[in-house]
Amino acid sequence: MTSPSHTDLREELAALAETQPFSPDPSAWDLGRRARSRTRVVRAAATLAVVALVVGVGAIAVRPDSVGPAGGIEPDGAIPSVITTPDGPVITDLAIGRASVAYVDSDGSPVLVDAATGKASYVDLPSFPEPSVIERTADLVTGPLLAVSPDGRRVAYAATVAAEGPAGQPAFSTPWYIVLDLTTGDFEFVGVPLGTGTPRAISWTTDGRLAIDVYGRQTRRDQPPSVVARTIDVTTGDSAASALTGMLAPGGLISATYPVDDGPVQAVPFEIAEGDVAGRDLPTDLYPEGAEVAPVGWAADDLLVAHVDEDLVVLTSPDRPAAESTWQVLVPDLPESSGVTVAVDLIPDLTGDPDQELTHDFTATPMGDSSGGRALYVAGGAVVLMAGVVLMLRRVRT
């Protein structure tokens, strides 16, 4: 099979390989050590779980209930009533459990809010775009750069990097998306759909896919290409065209579109069929001059969370009758950011009670849950960890 010309192929491959610039990353050791430490901590925790199962469940069963979150909010966390700016160190161990809010601050640094404590922290996300890259992509991007999943357990973002354009001008490219599991700190690479580049916006659908807006094929030189939407299955990497751009509602029959221009609008924009738009008028008493609007997530089939001027607002979509319309401020006075997303599953179902609390004041009462629920979680966790111990012991024996 081999012929003398394969020597030439070898030489050409070697020459091609020489074009790769040599730039060792000094962080490999530290990153590897952290990953190793996490593994060892999990193993140690498995051992402790055996003891915890015996001692902990009994103690929990007789312990009185602590003060629960406002409004019977999910036991694993809540949207904080105040979203603060980070004031602590950058978090490098990303196994924080759940995040209630994710945003990128005005300096281009990613921030996560812990769903259980309400504390905002800068996070060291792997391959997150550098601030200079974020600046380069500012004219392209219309939606969030960092998207937290509806359940708060994952975040996703485009791993956009600086590149050089054809004539040497500054450019950028996105080789893949990263989906990071906040319960383990592990992350996965998800390929960009063929024929697509850096996304204009990224969000999660309520069934756990990524929804991206990207530029389509350019058909005329004098006009920018149209914006098209795709969804990506983060488990398989499969992608599919989506009829609607923007943030897809459950069921995919309506979407909340991202702002095209900076500046106030008089209505929250939606897309109800391909190219067919609708609007939900802003309350003129609250916003007489209009407001800047960006979608944040869908809390229910017909309930959108949106960033309206400085506030997070819950509002009904325009396909609902006017008599059922809702406009409720969820969190006022957000920090300045280039796009915020929230774990919408942490927003309780609306009861219609105007006094219903949708967020939790972490400065007033600690998060808690019922003792029975907690015992169930502890027991379930311990069983899982004990299974880990068994597997570990088997591994040691072999």
Partner: protein
């Protein structure tokens, strides 16, 4: 792990990263992906350093081969999906190396990895099969298919590749 472990790792990275990054580039065809691939393999090496420190390069190379195929599986670039792209690569540039680079980019990850191991790393068919966890016959057939596809994609590479593969 001790300071000696860290020193040993640093020495290994300083001595071998250039060669490893060249292989990573041939495997991925992209400078950024190559750096990510090498970084991921080095992180794996750190986790098992005590066990592999006497011969880390073989471990890191193997990690890169497997990680590369795994990543691209995730990207769903399958052999089937490439069939529709089997028209010849347009040759806007007479530079043979550029043509080779473009043609390699259109191979499947498995085909590309097998070619790199066989013709850049100079592994035998048996060694390649062992490194990738494949049978020798699969390595043989994949090599044959890869070279044939290169010729289809870029006829001007025929002289480089040979006609008998």
């Amino acid at each position: 792990m001790t300071t000696a472990d860290r020193d040993g790792f640093d020495e290994f990275v300083a001595a071998r990263s250039a060669a490893l990054s060249r292989t990573a580039y041939l495997l991925t065809g992209d400078h950024h992906l190559a750096q990510d691939l090498l970084q991921a393999a080095l992180m794996q090496a750190v986790k098992h350093w005590r066990r592999i420190h006497t011969s880390p390069e073989a471990y890191v190379r193997r990690a890169m081969y497997h990680q590369n195929i795994s990543w691209w599986r995730r990207r769903r670039i399958t052999e089937t999906s490439l069939l529709s792209y089997d028209g010849a690569v347009p040759a806007p540039d007479t530079d043979l190396r550029l043509t080779l680079d473009q043609a390699l980019a259109r191979l499947t990850p498995k085909q590309r990895t097998v070619l790199v191991l066989r013709f850049y790393e100079d592994l035998t068919e048996v060694e390649t099969a062992r490194a990738l966890g494949l049978s020798t016959s699969t390595v043989k057939s994949t090599t044959r298919q890869s070279l044939a596809r290169l010729r289809t994609l870029a006829p001007e590479l025929a002289e480089l590749i040979g006609a008998d593969a």
